[in-house]
């Protein structure tokens, strides 16, 4: 950073320089002190004021610092220094878009600072301002055209804006420079990456002849043959040379014969290709799907026999895909049964496979019976206990399911997979404390799931707390996950700099893709849905409280108030229970991550606050799409009442389409209810933009009647939902909470009050405490015995 020019004498000027050094050294306290001293001499020097602003920012006066920096800029628009400082504050705030604007002003106002230009170009990549990046990269290149990295960054910037011809020309110059640079010869892996990138570039430019030429001439420079043949395949398919694409796919299969993806590519290039020439279990297993009748029976028996002789417990995985074809099920079952009378290990596998078979066709009781028989036969095989746990889970016996997984875990304490499974089942049985203990066994000392961004764990904990209506801790878990996703995006910042130096531009492009779609991930969608639901419950609770407060109290209402206070007392007790036993983490850590949710709740005091945060999640969620309809639906349905309450007709239309796109056999009834809610809202809508809405308006009664004609009501839940639908049609209120997951919840907690979704004590507390003390005693005996050894 260069010093200020105007109105400072020599002494002041060197003091100014010293201040800039303090900023670089991050000595903000001393910096602020000294700046204030200098300001006493030159109160009107806005560049010194700028310095004060950034020192204030770093001394925990963030808002004031930003304001002051802004003021300094407007008082002195021509000062590159002021702009630069202003940008630095924005950058520290991670407001990169504003930071870039400021830095560009600083550059325009004449600051000759190549470091600043590089930083700005980096931020432009981060904000996906590819045009701006290309301009700046050009500027940097013209200044320092002897550096290879500047050429690479320039090529990449031209690639991003589609100026392929310029990129190709620049590649020639870069290649020459690389050849000339004898002192730092390019490494083999770097050359490999650069050449692969050039092929990719030519394909992206649709210059297929050049790509073809590249593929031939670069072959010797390339070491990553998988990437090479993948590009080759891609190119030949684009050229319509399917025969050559087949050859590429064959090369890929030589390298990775167990990768199903490449068989698919092969088939795509030549649908007539007979995959059976590949004699491995993957292909043979997949090909079974294409056979029928006696031919299938014969091939299936031939396929499974080696598994029974060599005993590979992975067989079920290879044939699971066949369960989509109902006519094959009996053949499969009979084939398994035929091994029940062979040797002991054959009998074991037969029992295990039959248990899996019945699980797969949803006969959980039968599955359990078979797996119990298998366990009696061979009690040392941990896979059996996992199958048992899965079936128990489906029967909603969560305690027993936990006990089964824990048994598996104990059989092999070194197995991380079993430990993780046990944690998941512990959380399903509402045991947060125990899950934390189990997790700790596989974490290094001092680390914790929050620093490690263990989203699966946080999501499980959050779900559990939400199930128990323990809202603060639940919301915190979801909020932390949301922050992880933001951090993930921020972490890209370093990768651009790395990639232009190491030529890993193809990976950089892949990362752009992954990051731009980061919210369309299973965990994020689940989290956002649950967060909105949790905030909804918080809102209801708030309304409940307000209702009582606002009125003058009649005796009846006094009673209500008493009840409410009692509930709050219960909640307080629950909180104590969780802060004492619910967390194995230190108080500092609990504070740091706000695990009790106290800080988060303090920001959610009014309905407006809650809606604002719901919107923060809704805005992202509405644009996501994951390839599992069930997961999508569970999240999207949370948006329905939110957008209706917010009176957002266009978003409701978008949501309606999303619900329809994610309809499945499992969710169709619940899905219908939400569609009904939206259509009813749209029917009653009379505001602006009506022409876009009208298309979706329809006769609600007919829509509903048509739907029920085509579905079968099977369960209690289905009946409840149908009742909800009737209430919607009659405009009557109903409790939206009581469906799917929530109904499970009620079955699990028969004593829970159905009318009030809040403050439920877990009736399984005694059992949970037993599990914890068992775990603790086994831990202590183990550690003693280890010490003895």
């Amino acid at each position: 950073m260069k010093p200020a020019q105007n109105s400072l004498n020599n002494k002041q000027s060197s003091e100014f320089k010293a201040l800039v050094k303090l900023l670089d050294a991050k000595d903000y306290k001393k910096g602020l002190r000294n700046t204030e001293k200098l300001l006493e001499q030159v109160p009107d020097n806005w560049e010194v004021v700028s310095l004060k602003a950034i020192f204030m920012y770093y001394n925990d006066e963030q808002q004031k610092g930003l304001e002051l920096a802004k003021q300094a800029v407007f008082k002195n628009l021509g000062s590159d220094f002021c702009w630069h400082i202003y940008g630095l504050i924005y950058k520290a705030q991670k407001n990169y878009i504003e930071a870039v604007k400021c830095f560009l002003q600083a550059i325009k106002k004449g600051e000759e600072n190549i470091q600043l230009e590089r930083d700005t170009a980096n931020l432009q990549i981060h904000t996906r301002d590819f045009e701006g990046n290309a301009q700046l990269r050009h500027k940097i290149l013209t200044k320092k055209s002897n550096m290879i990295v500047n050429w690479i960054a320039f090529i990449f910037s031209q690639h991003l804006i589609g100026n392929y011809e310029i990129a190709f020309k620049a590649i020639n110059s870069a290649e020459q420079l690389i050849q000339k640079d004898q002192q730092n010869p390019i490494k083999k892996v770097e050359m490999n990456e650069f050449k692969l990138y050039q092929i990719q570039l030519a394909i992206d430019a649709k210059d297929y002849q050049k790509a073809k030429q590249n593929i031939i001439t670069f072959k010797n420079d390339i070491t990553d043959m998988v990437a090479y043949y993948e590009l080759q395949y891609d190119l030949f398919m684009k050229l319509g040379s399917n025969q050559e694409a087949v050859e590429s796919a064959k090369h890929l299969l030589e390298l990775q014969p167990q990768n199903w993806k490449y068989y698919v590519l092969l088939k795509k290039a030549n649908p007539q290709f007979d995959l059976s020439v590949y004699d491995n279990t993957l292909v043979q297993g997949q090909l079974l799907a294409e056979l029928n009748g006696d031919k299938f029976r014969e091939s299936f028996l031939k396929f499974i026999d080696p598994f029974f002789q060599k005993s590979l417990p992975s067989l079920f995985r290879e044939i699971k895909h066949l369960y989509r074809q109902k006519e094959k099920l009996d053949v499969i079952k009979e084939a398994f049964e035929s091994y029940l009378t062979s040797g002991p290990i054959q009998k074991l596998w037969a029992l295990m496979l039959l248990a899996q078979h019945h699980y797969q066709i949803k006969q959980y009781a039968k599955s359990l019976e078979l797996v119990e028989e298998a366990i009696a036969h061979t009690p040392t095989l941990h896979e059996l206990y996992l199958i048992k746990a899965k079936a128990l889970h489906k029967q909603e016996k969560f305690k027993e399911a936990y006990e089964a997984t824990d048994r598996a875990r104990q059989l092999d304490l070194a197995d991380r997979y079993l430990n993780n499974k046990t944690i998941k089942y512990a959380l399903r049985a509402n045991m947060v404390y125990l899950s934390q203990e189990l997790l700790r066994m596989f974490l290094r000392d001092g680390s914790n799931p929050y620093e490690l961004q263990m989203i699966w764990f946080e999501l499980g904990v959050g779900r559990t707390f939400l199930r128990l209506n323990y809202l603060g801790p639940a919301l915190t878990q979801f909020y932390l996950i949301f922050k992880h996703y933001q951090e993930m995006y921020d972490d890209q910042l370093d990768f651009y700099q790395f990639s232009i130096r190491k030529y890993t531009l193809r990976s950089l492009l892949q990362m752009f893709d992954a990051m731009d779609n980061r919210y369309s991930a299973k965990y994020f969608i689940e989290t956002a849905g649950l967060m909105i639901e949790g905030l909804n419950r918080l809102k209801l609770k708030l309304q409940d409280n307000n209702k009582v407060e606002q009125k003058k109290l009649t005796p009846k209402e006094k009673k209500q108030l008493q009840k409410l206070q009692q509930k709050q007392e219960e909640e307080k007790q629950l909180r104590e229970q969780f802060s004492i036993e619910g967390h194995i983490y230190s108080i500092e850590l609990q504070k740091k991550f706000d695990l009790s949710g106290e800080y988060l709740l303090s920001k959610l005091k009014t309905e407006q606050d809650i809606i604002k945060m719901q919107n923060q999640f809704a805005q992202v969620l509405i644009h996501t799409n994951y390839n599992n309809k069930e997961i999508n639906f569970q999240a999207f349905k949370q948006l329905v009442s939110f957008y209706i309450q917010q009176n957002r007709p266009l978003l409701c239309v978008k949501l309606l389409n999303k619900l329809r796109n994610n309809q499945t056999e499992t969710n169709q009834i619940v899905n219908h209810k939400y569609q009904l809610m939206i259509i009813q809202y749209l029917n009653q809508y009379k505001g602006p933009l009506l022409q876009y809405i009208q298309e979706y308006q329809q006769d609600l009664n007919k829509f509903d009647a048509d739907f029920w004609k085509s579905v079968e009501i099977k369960s209690q839940l289905d009946k409840t939902i149908k009742l909800h639908c009737e209430h919607i049609l009659q405009n009557k209120p109903f409790n939206i909470q009581l469906e799917s997951n929530e109904l499970d919840f009620l079955q699990e907690y028969p004593t829970a009050k159905t009318t009030n979704p809040f403050y439920t004590n877990d009736p399984n507390l005694e059992w949970q405490n037993n599990q914890i003390s068992q775990f603790q005693s086994s831990q202590s005996t183990q550690s003693v015995s280890q010490q003895q050894q």
């Binding site: 002991p344 040392t380 005996t781």
Partner: protein, 179 residues
């Protein structure tokens, strides 16, 4: 006919102790304390789990004792899961133990307690060169009849002299000890 199934052997350690526990509980009529299982971990040299197709189906544990100044190996537990009997797994486990013991020349005998009613067990041990060396009355407290034999195998019968047969009464010994 397929090949005779073969066992592979692995250590008993605290990570897989539960497997040993399960096998012992399923195969032996005696109930052991938790403490016993953790103690097993101190005798790992002469203990093994037997794996068939990577599944633990049997286990043998033994410790070395001093008997009248001579070293002898004592089999503490030995069992194969029901479903996996008659495949020669017991023989393989026992041979594994004998091989390990043979590398210690100073150990001359292996002995064990066997419940008097265990006919099948007796036939098995006979086949492997064990002899009845003591009839011990009232040895067990929780099974009926409570008597047992001590079976002993001389590892080097060509060199070492035969062992005379004796009778003992555990109850009487205890009474004497109490007096």
């Amino acid at each position: 006919m397929e090949q005779k199934p073969k066992l592979t052997f692995g250590d008993i350690n605290f990570k897989n102790l539960e497997q040993f526990k399960v096998i012992t509980q399923k195969t032996l009529p005696v109930t052991y304390s938790e403490n016993f299982y953790y103690k097993i971990l101190t005798y790992t040299d002469f203990s093994a789990l037997g794996y068939y197709n990577d599944i633990a189906v049997g286990a043998i544990t033994a410790r070395i004792e001093d008997k009248d100044g001579k070293k002898t190996a004592y089999i503490m537990t030995f069992g194969v899961l029901d479903a996996y009997r008659r495949f020669g797994f017991g023989t393989q486990l026992l041979n594994e133990l004998i091989n390990r013991i043979r590398s210690h020349q100073e150990i001359r005998t292996i002995y064990l307690h066997m419940w008097v009613s265990n006919e099948i067990g007796f036939q098995f041990y006979c086949k492997h060169g064990f002899e009845k060396t003591t009839y011990k009355k009232n040895y067990y407290t929780d099974i009926d009849p409570p008597h047992c034999y001590i079976l002993t195998k001389r590892l080097y019968p060509d060199v070492d002299p035969p062992i005379p047969y004796t009778e003992e009464d555990a109850e009487k010994e205890q009474e004497i000890a109490q007096q």
